[in-house]
């Protein structure tokens, strides 16, 4: 086994560090968080340094990059304080469109991805259909050679900025919902689309919206992949998405850990540093164990994916674990910081608000039990 990063990976991470150092974004992120603004300045710096090209094929102007390296970069960025939900590698989107999209769709989506622009918001969750995806009720109805989309989607990240929506709809061709879903890709400025901002407790730099689709006219060629296969196409999507989400979890946990441990070493109470108290040391040790575990699980899953092995179970395990472990690490970090950790001045408070949603989004940690649990029992038979 070789746990060493390649020289190329190390150098790439050094470049990332230089971008973050030159940008000196900490105060900027604080402002953006406070004002609910998208951190465009940081995105511009990363795009200029070529980070948005990672994972996009050469023929589209990108730099082919394995998923493990992409994960390391995303993790490191978050460890350096980069905010969550606004990362500029869209491995999931790129993967989806390359696998199922037509040539035109590929070009449009990848062009945006290259510029660091989230190409589409995923129209999946609906008010009545969260974990129970079969309850999705948005319809795609064919009429006079066109397709009309009707329904309501919710928790759409970046619906205000993403040029497209990749929308999962019932096609009305099969009684079984799982065999009835199709995916359509359409621009967000089509008539009939309205968005409504949700007021959430964290991830202020990334707007999340409800999207109302009222007779949105699409061409039949706007379909992505095969009619009625939308659900299975998406499931493939979720495996990669889960890994990239986990990278953010590990990164945020490291960010909080680094700050808290440094603080424990200098903050004095009762005439000595708080790091000399064993109750604080215990927290630090357990935090570090969790970070190591998260990283190992995540890298191994990415390695399996790269080597063509199934990560159906792994992706659920690592999603459930990193969501919870990162939450615990950040919470402990806040505890070590004491009152300061609860103020907006300390970025751990942002991490504490922002990371919480990772236990909910892209498959709740409970649903991860459901998906991995069944598979593990089956595997043992």
């Amino acid at each position: 086994m070789d746990f060493k990063k390649t020289e190329e990976q190390e150098l790439l991470l050094e470049s990332l560090k230089t971008v973050m150092e030159r940008g000196d974004f900490e105060n900027y992120f604080k402002e953006c968080d406070k004002n609910h603004e998208y951190p465009q300045k940081a995105i511009d710096a990363l795009v200029e340094a070529g980070f948005s090209t990672l994972g996009i094929p050469e023929e589209f102007g990108g730099t082919p990059t394995d998923i493990l390296t992409q994960i390391m970069v995303a993790e490191e960025a978050h460890a350096l304080g980069y905010p969550s939900l606004v990362w500029i590698n869209f491995a999931t989107e790129v993967d989806d469109i390359l696998t199922f999209g037509n040539e035109e769709q590929q070009k449009a989506v990848l062009d945006y991805a290259l510029q660091g622009i989230k190409p589409f918001t995923l129209g999946f969750t609906e008010p009545q259909a969260g974990s129970d995806s079969a309850a999705m009720a948005t319809t795609a109805t064919k009429r006079d050679g066109k397709v009309y989309i009707n329904g309501n989607k919710t928790f759409n990240t970046s619906a205000d900025r993403a040029p497209f929506m990749l929308c999962v709809c019932r096609s009305g061709i099969n009684e079984n919902p799982y065999k009835d879903f199709s995916m359509y890709l359409f621009p967000m400025d089509r008539p009939g689309i309205t968005i409504e901002k949700l007021d959430k407790i964290g991830n202020n730099m990334c707007g999340t919206y409800e999207v109302h689709l009222n007779d949105v006219e699409c061409e039949e060629t706007d379909i992505v992949g095969v009619e009625g296969k939308g659900f299975y196409q998406l499931m493939k999507n979720f495996e990669v998405e889960r890994l990239t989400i986990c990278a953010a979890n590990v990164g945020m946990a490291r960010c909080a850990y680094d700050e808290a441990v440094k603080y424990a070493g200098v903050r004095e109470q009762f005439g000595k540093t708080i790091g000399s108290f064993q109750l604080i040391q215990e927290k630090i040790v357990d935090m570090k164990i969790k970070i190591e575990n998260m990283q190992n699980m995540l890298y191994k899953a990415a390695w399996k994916k790269m080597n063509g092995e199934s990560i159906q179970i792994d992706s659920s395990l690592v999603k459930r674990y990193t969501g919870q472990a990162a939450f615990e690490v950040i919470d402990d970090a806040m505890q070590i910081m004491g009152g300061i950790g609860y103020t907006h001045d300390c970025r751990i408070s942002r991490l504490w608000r922002d990371q919480r949603v990772y236990r909910i989004m892209a498959g709740t940690e409970e649903i991860m039990v459901h998906t991995a649990g069944r598979a593990l029992i089956k595997e043992a038979q």
Binding site: E7, E8, E10, L11, L12, E14, S15, T18, V19, R22, A49, G50, F51, T53, L54, T63, T65, T69
Partner: protein
């Protein structure tokens, strides 16, 4: 115009520890490219790109020059090839010796302009570039803050304490550049991947004529004695604290 940028691999100053006897402990220090040399590499690469020439890199040092990561780090910044002179004694050679070796190596390279950084990242003597030029017997200018290519010459701005000289310098020539001449590029993944495939030429000290004697000997390198500070910290800006601080400041002069 063909350019050569010189660089030095140095210990990262942030990682340097002090032993109890005040000597320095470099064991934990990561080796990096000198930060001022990154500026030289960028300028050499930019000039070559702008004039349709080729940019090469040159370094003299010990075993650490064989480190493939550092080689990739250097070659991911726009130059096409790397020359290096490797010998353990070059780890402790002084500015004159290093400059002599670089000058001898330059004799084997086709160049129009040699670009050096303002100073090395560790010793920062700000001498090697000027010594190289003098030893080669070619025009040499330091404190160069902009370079423009002309036919057979470069026009440079030299930023001195109270004035800026615009100088025309006949090629071949050697310049040392200031840190504000450019902002070194940040290598992208494609640059890093390409760097691993670029040619590296390694010479032994003998192949460049050996190491000259230096009449200057380093007697000691010791961390300075710490001045004891009072460490009085007022935790808030109350009127009383401000008043005390004012009194203390006034007492200091």
């Amino acid at each position: 115009m063909n350019t050569v940028a010189c660089y030095k691999v140095v210990p990262d100053a942030q990682d340097i520890d002090v032993n109890p006897d005040k000597t320095l402990n470099l064991d934990k220090a990561e080796m990096i490219l000198g930060e001022y040399d990154l500026v030289a590499i960028e300028e050499a690469a930019k000039l070559a790109e702008a004039t349709g020439g080729s940019a090469a890199l040159l370094s003299a040092g010990g075993e650490k020059l064989n480190d493939t990561k550092l080689v990739k780090a250097a070659l991911s910044r726009g130059a096409q090839e790397l020359y290096c002179v490797i010998d353990p004694v070059l780890d402790s050679s002084d500015a004159f010796q290093t400059a002599s070796v670089l000058a001898a190596a330059l004799g084997k390279i086709d160049y129009d302009l040699v670009v050096c950084g303002e100073g090395s990242g560790d010793l920062y003597a700000q001498q090697v570039g000027s010594l190289v030029g003098a030893l080669l017997g070619v025009p040499v200018v330091n404190a160069v803050s902009s370079i423009e290519a002309k036919d057979g010459a470069v026009v440079v701005e030299r930023t001195l304490e109270n004035e800026v000289e615009v100088l025309e310098v006949t090629l071949p020539a050697v310049v040392s550049v200031t840190t504000d001449i450019n902002l070194p590029r940040i290598p992208q993944l494609k640059d890093i991947l390409a760097a691993g495939k670029k040619p590296v030429v390694k010479w032994t000290l003998d192949e460049v004529g050996g190491l000259p004697e230096s009449p200057v000997e380093t007697v000691s390198v010791l961390a300075p004695e710490n001045i004891e500070r009072k460490h009085v910290v007022y935790e808030s800006a109350t009127d009383e604290n401000i008043g005390e601080l004012v009194t203390n400041i006034k007492a200091s002069w």
